[in-house]
């Protein structure tokens, strides 16, 4: 049986992994390669890296870091941030990442999804989206961009369907309202999108307890869930989270 994936997310800033709430109060957590190895050996099913300063400073992503991670770990990983062209995508993939995550770029230029899928296969192209509650949108959520700073007027479910049609192989639903709270995923929008598209959906934002992941899978219909603060802080290990998934009958990879 296909297992549900647990994916630690590492926000990288100036070559170091950091954790901040809504891009503020960043705290240094460690070296990206060392942390990648530790999570991989600890049972993570996949990793995701966001080069958070690359986007803000409008510079290309740190390719040296991507290469170093690819040499050090034997599990899949995705990279986002600082990708603005097909050539940027290619550099990241050739450096050894399995997937590229596009977010604000795809809103500005949706064709990049089609171009990326045509060039590298749709499994390489992940759409990241940051929906925020807005009752004026048909699905109740509006897409924001540029680290939640800009509203787009796009309905979250409509955008997800369009991105899947364009060729996105996976969609990461990162709730603006839940991000950094560790109070649980935004299950409603996760489920709405998971039920609307026929590509895997990754729940993101708000994980604080193993039970939150159980809910993301059972109630949010997610195929994978991103964890950050709850594991970076040392409050939970991946193995501890997975034991609770197994106890809740969630199909989980337990040998690594």
């Amino acid at each position: 049986m296909l297992t549900k994936r647990v994916i630690p997310c590492l926000d990288v800033r100036d070559g170091r992994v950091t954790k901040g709430v809504k891009f503020k109060h960043n705290v240094d957590l460690g070296d990206p390669v060392e942390m990648a190895v530790a999570y991989s050996e600890g049972g993570a099913d996949e990793l995701v890296f966001y080069d958070i300063t690359a986007s803000a400073e409008r510079r290309p992503i740190d390719i040296g870091m991507v290469e170093a991670v690819a040499r050090a770990v034997r599990i899949p990983f995705a990279v986002g941030g600082g990708i603005s062209t097909l050539a940027d995508m290619e550099r990241v993939i050739l450096a050894g990442a399995e997937k590229i995550s596009v977010n604000s770029l795809a809103v500005k230029n949706p064709e990049i999804i089609r171009e990326g899928a045509a060039a590298f296969g749709r499994q390489c192209v992940v759409l990241g989206m940051d929906p925020v509650r807005n009752a004026k949108c048909p699905c109740g959520y509006e897409i924001t961009t540029r680290g939640f700073r800009e509203m787009t007027g796009l309905d979250a479910v409509e955008w997800a369907k369009r991105a899947a049609d364009l060729g996105a192989g996976e969609i990461v639903v990162n709730s603006v309202d839940a991000d950094g709270t560790r109070a649980g995923f935004e299950l409603e929008i996760t489920r709405k999108i998971a039920d609307a598209v026929n590509v895997p959906v990754v729940a993101s934002g708000g994980a604080g307890l193993p039970a939150h992941l159980v809910a993301a899978f059972n109630e949010g219909h997610a195929d994978a869930a991103i964890v950050a603060g709850m594991v970076h802080s040392g409050d939970f290990t991946i193995a501890e989270i997975k034991k609770e998934l197994v106890a809740a009958n969630v199909p989980t990879r337990m040998s690594w």
Binding site: R74, I75, E170, R253, S255
Partner: protein
């Protein structure tokens, strides 16, 4: 010499990195003479069957691949590199593939609750071994056939996760991205 056949079907960095982690430096090649001279060959692949076949032919490597399999050298197909060893794929409206292995490659049926592509870790039931999870990324699957040695189930279909015929070993999943169990498989293959 360990050679990885590069026929423009996806990125080979992960495959090369995995062998490097086992101490085996691989040569990535598009050259028929290098393929003929290699002791063992890896035939990876990510992408679509029709373009993979077209690239293989455009690079003049179809014969080199057939000869390598026929030569008896250890030959490892991965993902699309396994799929195009079969006779036919439904991908891209239907394409005849190498036909080195008997059988067909089909698309997963639409089934509620089963997303396509299948992305993630799924259990492989291998002959003579305890089942483990390996990492899969695919929308098409190879039917079971007399050479199937590993079976996985998704979207209500039992399909070939691994196939072995004499010197030819091929898998649908990505051993290079399947953590320790994947590395162990590659290590065992290097020793065979």
């Amino acid at each position: 010499m360990l050679a990885i056949i590069d026929y423009k079907a996806g990125n080979l960095t992960s495959v090369r990195n995995a062998f490097a982690a086992l101490g085996a430096e691989a040569t990535v090649t598009r050259d028929a003479a290098t393929i003929a001279a290699a002791d063992r060959l890896v035939f990876p692949g990510v992408g679509a069957a029709a373009s993979a076949m077209a690239n293989l032919r455009a690079l003049g490597l179809e014969t080199a691949v057939r000869d390598a399999v026929a030569s008896g050298k250890p030959f490892l197909g991965i993902c699309l590199g396994m799929q195009i060893l079969f006779e036919h794929s439904e991908e891209d409206g239907g394409v005849d593939t190498l036909g080195i292995l008997p059988g067909r490659v089909r698309r997963f049926p639409d089934m509620p609750g089963f997303k396509v592509p299948e992305i993630g870790w799924n259990q492989v039931n291998l002959q003579l071994q305890t089942p483990s999870e390996y990492y899969f990324v695919h929308s098409y699957y190879a039917e079971l056939n007399p050479y199937t040695v590993g079976v996985t189930e998704y979207a209500g279909v039992k399909f070939t996760a691994m196939v072995k015929k004499e010197n030819l070993l091929a898998c649908q999943f990505h051993p290079e991205k399947s953590g320790r169990v994947g590395l162990e498989l590659l290590k065992a293959w290097l020793a065979c």
